[in-house]
């Protein structure tokens, strides 16, 4: 049984940052990832990372932008911390080697981004997430003696003791199918979001929210599950992301008539209003017949100077060319809102602690909440690093001076049995995993997306419940142990369905529109009744709804216009 003081599950930005922070205190650290760490979805974050580093800027301004962007659902104490600590974290990244863009004087340079009152987004061309993550992985290499890496190990379940404390995790070595019970004094979930529940999505195939589901089953509270961000500029069909950085560089949004329609929805910030506002604007244009026949509007990047495009938007030149057959330097590209980010997740405090003892969460898997009802662009990379670091530090502290709790080996036997049951299901007796997943994705994208209503969400919930049953008998083809991706797909499907149910219930519960949740049957924001978080937890057999208050420090909720 491998023992570690701190066990990190997930090796994207948050996980790697947590591991490095914990290792620096001297505790033993293990980091597990179901894919090689550099394949984590952090590498897809293109545009940049926010920090009020400039002398003319202030963390208060950054905090206000974030709070307003969250539609006042964000917890202000957490947001203050994130914005206050951002400059130091950014400099730390630069010192370990991230190749941030520079201005003519050789200092760190910024670009404009959505929802920001001042340009404070630091970037590396349009591969910021990739650049930061690879730099963190370099540091993991440098400190290989301090941090044990378990690359391509799939975590199936958290290990809990009788008192409800998290004492480790059960994982499966993908390469040979062997299963292990890892013991740990603190476990940090950093397994990312759950975009694959919706189809199409910008998210990678690995984004199935395994950590959210495991925490849920372990008794942790999930918060703000209805807050699902649809990114304004994704390619129709496959859902590929076109970075907000394009709009930051000056690109325009046009409807089929060639109008810059954002004038009518956000006259001040125009294309750089917060994402939910822009997505709703686009969807309205499309729904009211002013979009193109393929259900899109146009993003015109040709207004940006060619040299600048090649320097700062290189990645989307390639995306446009390879996946849409469009040269973005010469013609507009068709886009539409697409599933992108989960503001909700496992509820934590400002140190990443969940309400399950020994269990932490950081990054997209967590809901602190710093993003509330809507996340600003370039705040996610920041979130992962600040709370990754804080979780790592606190988890290390929690681990110091205590011994390992005893862990029952029956947990390992249970998981063995669970996997064996899936493998042993009768072929042809049920549906294929991929069929169920496809139906889930289409249902959620159709009914729990940009615009929602009671009837639609209820229908979605019924479908999800039926699919949960069907998933119980979904068969797989691969019965082997070596690199069996089939059985992983079945485990991921279980995880996704549990989260989809929680999301539907939360969306039904919130009878107002705030941030990313827009109910056509309750189109106004209602602070009097709904300025609170919606929690979902597993009680006995079913999900249970509760509320938790929003922490307000200095910024009273106001009307939110751009």
């Amino acid at each position: 049984m491998p023992d570690h003081d701190v066990l990190v599950i997930g090796a994207g930005l948050a996980g790697q940052r947590a591991a490095l922070a914990a290792a620096q205190t001297g505790v033993s650290v293990g980091i597990i990832s179901k894919v090689h760490p550099v394949r984590s979805h952090s590498n897809a974050a293109q545009g940049g990372i926010n920090a009020a580093l400039d002398v003319d800027d202030s963390w208060e301004s950054h905090a206000f932008d974030t709070i307003k962007g969250s539609d006042y659902l964000g917890d202000q104490d957490a947001i203050e911390i994130m914005c206050r600590e951002a400059p130091e974290e950014l400099l730390n990244l630069e010192h370990i080697g991230v190749t941030f863009h520079r201005n003519e004087k050789g200092e760190l340079g910024t670009r404009a981004f959505g929802g920001a009152s001042k340009a404070r987004t630091y970037y590396v061309a349009d591969i910021t997430g990739q650049a930061i993550m690879h730099t963190l992985y370099e540091q993991l290499m440098k400190h290989a003696d301090l941090i044990d890496r378990y690359e391509e190990w799939f975590t199936t379940e958290l290990a809990m003791d009788d008192e409800g404390t998290c004492v480790g995790a059960v994982t499966r070595n993908i390469k040979d199918g062997s299963m292990e019970l890892f013991r740990a004094k603190s476990v940090i979930l950093a397994s990312g979001g759950n975009g694959q529940i919706w189809q199409p999505t910008t998210n990678a195939l690995i984004c199935t929210g395994d950590g959210i589901a495991m925490a849920y089953r372990a008794g942790a509270k999930l918060m703000d599950m209805e807050m699902i961000q649809y990114h304004p500029t994704t390619l129709a069909g496959k859902g590929f992301l076109i970075t907000e950085g394009a709009r930051g560089e000056g690109a325009h949004l046009l409807n089929a008539k060639g109008e810059r329609f954002m004038e009518r929805y956000a006259p001040n910030k125009m294309e750089l209003a917060s994402r939910d506002v822009v997505s709703r604007a686009e969807q309205t244009e499309i729904n009211e017949g002013r979009g193109f026949p393929d259900g899109t509007v146009a993003l015109d990047i040709t207004v940006v100077p060619r040299k600048r495009i090649h320097e700062a938007l290189r990645e989307i030149v390639l995306v446009g060319r390879d996946f849409a057959g469009v040269d973005i330097t010469r013609e507009p590209i068709h886009i539409k809102p697409g599933n992108h980010y989960t503001m909700g997740g496992v509820k934590t405090d400002i140190w990443g602690r969940t309400d399950v003892r020994g269990l932490y969460a950081a990054g997209e898997v967590a809901c602190v909440s710093v993003h509330g009802g809507n996340r600003l662009g370039a705040n996610s990379l920041l979130d992962t690093l600040i709370f990754g670091r804080r979780s790592g530090e606190d988890a290390a502290k929690h681990a110091q001076g205590r011994g390992f709790d005893s862990v029952s080996r029956s947990l390992l036997a249970d998981e063995h049995a669970r996997v064996a049951a899936i493998v042993g299901r009768d072929r042809e007796s049920g549906r294929r995993v991929s069929e169920i997943k496809a139906e889930l994705g289409a249902t959620m994208d159709g009914k729990v997306a940009v615009f929602r209503d009671e009837e639609g969400i209820q229908e979605a919930l019924q479908v999800v419940r039926r699919l949960k049953e069907e998933a119980g008998s979904a068969y797989i083809d691969d019965r082997g142990t070596i690199f069996n991706q089939d059985v992983l797909g079945a485990l991921e499907l279980e995880n996704m369905l549990a989260q989809a149910e929680a999301t539907c219930m939360a969306a039904l519960e919130r009878k107002e529109s705030r941030g990313a949740q827009f109910r056509t049957d309750f189109p106004e924001r209602n602070d009097a009744d709904w300025l609170k978080h919606i929690d979902v937890s597993l009680n006995g057999d079913g999900p249970e709804i509760a509320y938790s208050p929003v922490t307000i420090t200095d910024w009273q909720p106001q009307e939110r216009t751009y």
């Binding site: 630069e94 190749t99 200092e107 370099e138």
Partner: protein, 471 residues
């Protein structure tokens, strides 16, 4: 929507029943829009037809680097290759072979066959001389050790070695329709299952070899390091690497020498060498230049540049490392790489063409003085190079008698040698580090940073003069 056949080279390590114990081909028919990717095709096959098909994938958008494979023999990302293009390419290859115009690939095969017959097949690197296997990466050395690496096809039924030119060994034989998309695991790395290869033992091992983290010389400044913006833009090309392994898969040098540090790791090394904040520039260059499997082990073949899906151009990064090492930091490596390069250019400058018979002596004992009083090291180096030279002669690298006699190179037609010497005479030396990542492809009016060189007018004049002489 259209129908495509994807022929996958599979390997099931836990094969039971009727499944072959070694590698085998299996075809899947999928029905998808031609603009969707080969990965989409593989996933449809896995989702609907056979869940045992193993392929790494995640982002589907050419950013995570998981899905490195070989499509129609070309190392690339499965998610970046469109089904329609892949099918068309497969048709083109099949037609080229069928028409008897053996084309580029065919010529390569022909040369390989000539080499093998000259050497009596004693040191053949590949089991099968067909072009498909030439690109299919498993070296002769590894084939023995690993299960599943001989390409026994159902029809040939024998071990790879026997197949030679027999029709059954080629996956694109007559019975296949043109347009069948062939997908194989990446080369130069052991196969775990189907399209999943062991990257840890090869790719990541070499990555760690180049000390891939920033090593500043002192404590960090209070705020950020001040660096020239061009430096950060420059290394962004190497930072763009997503570690997919396609270049490692395609590397011909690595096929012949598995210990070669390789394109991905060396591009990563440039990322630090080119970063002004790193304090170990000279040490890194010294190390990589003197390692016999370092920067001078690259054969300059462009396969990695062709394979790279992100425009990293690994070979260019290796050449930059060479320039920095030899030219800027005066590293005269023990592999004689630097002197070899200088020998090349000085011979061409003097003779207007590469007189290969002079190459060895010039690189080990450059100039008159060194030839009159050769050092012990250069004598040793010359003697050690004799077997290579003999092999070169036997395999037809130097085809005419005059070429064998040092200094007596036959005169090239017309005035070409004089032209070349004239270019040397007129050209001004300037160093342009081309960074296509920044400039963009297809010729950008605003893009080219400070392109200098021979004034356009002179080039045109000479070209016109040439035209007149010829006609």
């Amino acid at each position: 929507m259209a129908e495509f056949t994807i022929k996958v080279r599979r390997y099931q390590p836990e094969a039971e029943g009727e499944t072959p114990r070694t590698a085998y081909w299996e075809s899947f028919d999928v029905d998808l829009d031609p603009t969707l990717s080969v990965l989409d095709g593989l996933l449809q096959a896995r989702n609907d037809l056979d869940g045992t098909l193993a392929v790494r994938c995640s982002c589907r958008a050419a950013i995570c680097g998981s899905c490195g494979v070989k499509v129609n023999g070309q190392s690339t990302l499965a998610c970046k290759t469109q089904l329609g293009h892949a099918a068309a390419e497969s048709t083109r290859i099949a037609r080229t072979e069928a028409s008897g115009d053996i084309g580029r690939e065919g010529e390569a095969v022909q040369r390989e066959t000539d080499v093998e017959s000259a050497l009596g097949a004693e040191s053949s690197v590949h089991d099968l001389p067909s072009s498909s296997t030439q690109r299919s990466g498993q070296t002769g050395r590894e084939a023995e050790d690993l299960p599943g690496s001989d390409l026994s096809t159902p029809s040939s039924g024998g071990s790879g070695r026997e197949a030679e030119h027999s029709p059954g060994s080629d996956p694109r034989e007559a019975e296949d329709l043109p347009g069948v998309i062939t997908v194989e695991p990446m080369g130069n790395m052991p196969v775990i299952k189907d399209l999943v290869v062991d990257m840890e033992s090869t790719h990541w091992e070499k990555y760690r070899r180049v000390t891939p983290w920033l090593m500043p010389s002192g404590p960090p400044p209070k705020r950020e390091y001040i660096v020239p913006p061009e430096a950060m833009v420059d290394v962004t090309q190497a930072v763009a690497c997503i570690q997919c392994g396609a270049c490692v898969s395609a590397c011909l040098s690595m096929e012949a020498d598995p210990g070669f540090i390789g394109p991905a790791a060396l591009a990563k090394a440039y990322r630090f060498v080119g970063d002004p904040r790193d304090g170990q520039t000279t040490e890194r260059l010294y190390d990589l230049a003197n390692d016999p499997q370092g920067i001078y082990d690259c054969t300059h073949c462009f396969a990695c540049i062709e394979a790279c899906p992100k425009g990293v151009a690994p070979m260019d990064q290796i050449m930059r490392l060479r320039r920095l090492a030899g030219h800027d930091h005066d590293v005269n490596d023990v592999n004689n790489g630097r002197r070899h390069e200088l020998a090349f250019t000085s011979i061409i400058e003097k003779k207007g063409t590469l007189d290969e018979s002079l190459l060895l002596q010039e690189s080990y004992a450059p100039g008159i003085k060194a030839k009159l009083m050769p050092s012990l090291a250069s004598i040793k180096g010359l003697i050690q190079s004799v077997p290579t030279a003999i092999r070169g002669i036997r395999t037809g690298k130097m085809r005419s008698l005059p070429k064998l006699i040092p200094g007596v190179h036959h005169k090239l037609p017309g005035d070409s040698q004089e032209h070349v010497k004239r270019i040397y005479g007129r050209a001004e030396e300037s160093r342009i580090e081309l960074n296509l990542y920044v400039i963009g492809e297809g010729g950008d009016e605003e893009g080219m940073p400070g392109a200098e060189g021979v004034p356009a007018a002179d080039i045109t004049a000479s070209a016109q003069a040439e035209e007149v002489t010829r006609s």
